[in-house]
Amino acid sequence: MTFHLSDEQLTRLAQGQIRGQEATDVFSHLLACEACGRQFEMLSGTRDNPSDAYELHDGLLQRVDQLRQQAIKASADARAVVEDLLSQPPSRRQTVLRNSEHLPSAEVVRQLLLQARELVFDDPAESLSLASLALETVHSIADRQARRGEDTVDVDLLAACWTDLANYRRILSDLAGAREALRQASAHVEAGTTDLSTEMHYFEVLSGIHWASRDFAAARRANARFMRMARDTGENHQLGRGVMFRATIEASEHGDAKLPEVIEMGRRALELLDPTREPRVYAAALNNLVTTLASDGRTSEAKTLLERVKPLPATQQRAIKFRVLWTESRLVQREGDLAAADTMLEQVVEGLSDVGQLIPAAQALLELATLRFEARRFTEVRELAARTLPVFQSQGIHREALAAYTLFVRAAEAETLTRALLTELQTYFGQFRPRDARPFRSQTGDATIPS
């Protein structure tokens, strides 16, 4: 073969710029000519390159310092914008952003996402609303840029927004919505610039969604990827979150069958977690360990640890405070102090109802009912059931949950309540997901849902 393809043609081929007749000409030659194939390999960058020493030159360092200055300024500006935005009623925020004279920066989106993450323990619905606002802002930035003739969408930001949306939807029990958001996130992560923080968070959220869907093997795989990234970047706190969640996966899948392993993971998570960085996560990890130790019969160890949980500032917040009290009630119950457990559970039910956590409140109430039922205090069970039904009704507990709860109330009234039914109801409420809720079905045949 006398003639060969030019470097320019081969480079354009590698860049996807060869079309039509030229594509025919280039491929008819390339498929037959080894010399051009080797040249193509060189030009397409698929051949190993010489590994000469790398030096940091001043130009690069200056550029990076400039970027840093820009990032600091953008962050300060964005904080002011977001502060102003959050002072507006939620319904007006999008309008304010859309009509603002200046184009919101990518940093505004990041700040919105940070704010959303900070609120997630107290108000996941507000977190969801802020993440949606962040997503709309990315699109609004893209629209304005498109009108100026700039065609750039920040794919990394889209990935971050969709990942957070998926997380909040999962927390709010909208599993189908969470999966859809994560599908969007996945496409953007794939197309993005490999932003490490976004990818780490993506795998953490993916693991959470698989766990909520009870696909424990997939949850474990995603969690392992998250932990590998955390380990590679020296992020011990994140690694601690990963270990803590792995313990949750194991506990959910194996129940009490793997308690020693779960306890070991809980201890390891506490070693890695930084209490000053996410105090509530640390408090939750401690509380989880107390619960697991108690389930394993190590009551005194659990009680000692519980004394470390109670004074933590994070546990003074109501939602966490009542969770901790719930754990304590189980401990004292195991020790045989039923009166103390009864008092504590009353407080837990009231406290969780007050903060709007109705399903856990119902779960705690069923624990209290079980405790009284076993003590043969049937009249008190009946009174408890009758007293709490209007509370759940007025607070708008989920329809299916209300139906199941009504069944408990009627069984108590009719004196047909059994220990087996109480256990079934506790399991039902423990696994209850509002968006995927199914009607309660008694396996023991002790009851059916009233029509």
Partner: protein, 170 residues
């Protein structure tokens, strides 16, 4: 102002401290000299942006750079395969008028496909020479339609080796 401003007078000092690891990563991942600065810059920018939530900036920067190097080759290969795919589809387009060159491409393509493994050969023959759609490819490969892209990409990798002159080992 992010904590970064208070704790580091310059990103440069941090980057200099990490230089031995940076060199080792570039050696390990065989990053072409022309692209190394871009990767360092991207990782440094990510570091600056995430500084407030990072525990160990040095380790994070090195981990981030490693991650970027890994993806560098993945995306580069993906782009190359996409280019070859588009070019080949153009070169053998069934609706274009036939010509001696087009005939030659088909003959040579058949010969090149004969040098890759059977499953890939069938996939690519169906794609380039029989104008089959994704659902048919999924049927033939016994996989989900969503997996066809990944499989095609792997097969294109093998074909690219042949195109690259690596005629024996592909």
């Amino acid at each position: 102002v992010p904590a970064f401003a208070a704790t580091h007078s310059s990103v440069g000092s941090l980057l200099r401290d990490c230089l031995p690891q940076v060199r080792s990563i570039f050696r390990r991942f065989r990053i072409p000299p022309g692209d190394r600065d871009d990767l360092v810059q991207e990782a440094a920018l990510a570091l600056v942006r995430n500084y407030d939530s990072i525990e160990n900036p040095g380790a994070w920067f090195v981990g981030c750079l490693k991650h970027k190097c890994l993806h560098y080759w993945r995306s580069r290969r993906r782009r190359l395969y996409e280019s070859i795919d588009t070019g080949l589809l153009e070169a053998v387009a069934p609706h274009s008028p036939d010509s001696p060159e087009r005939h030659l491409v088909r003959v040579e393509l058949r010969a090149a496909l004969g040098r890759i493994d059977k499953r890939c050969r069938i996939m690519l023959e169906m794609r380039y020479l029989m104008d089959c759609r994704t659902a048919e490819l999924a049927d033939a490969a016994g996989c989900q339609p969503t997996s066809v892209g990944k499989l095609t990409s792997r097969c294109l990798g093998a074909l690219t080796k042949v195109l690259n002159g690596d005629r024996r080992s592909a």
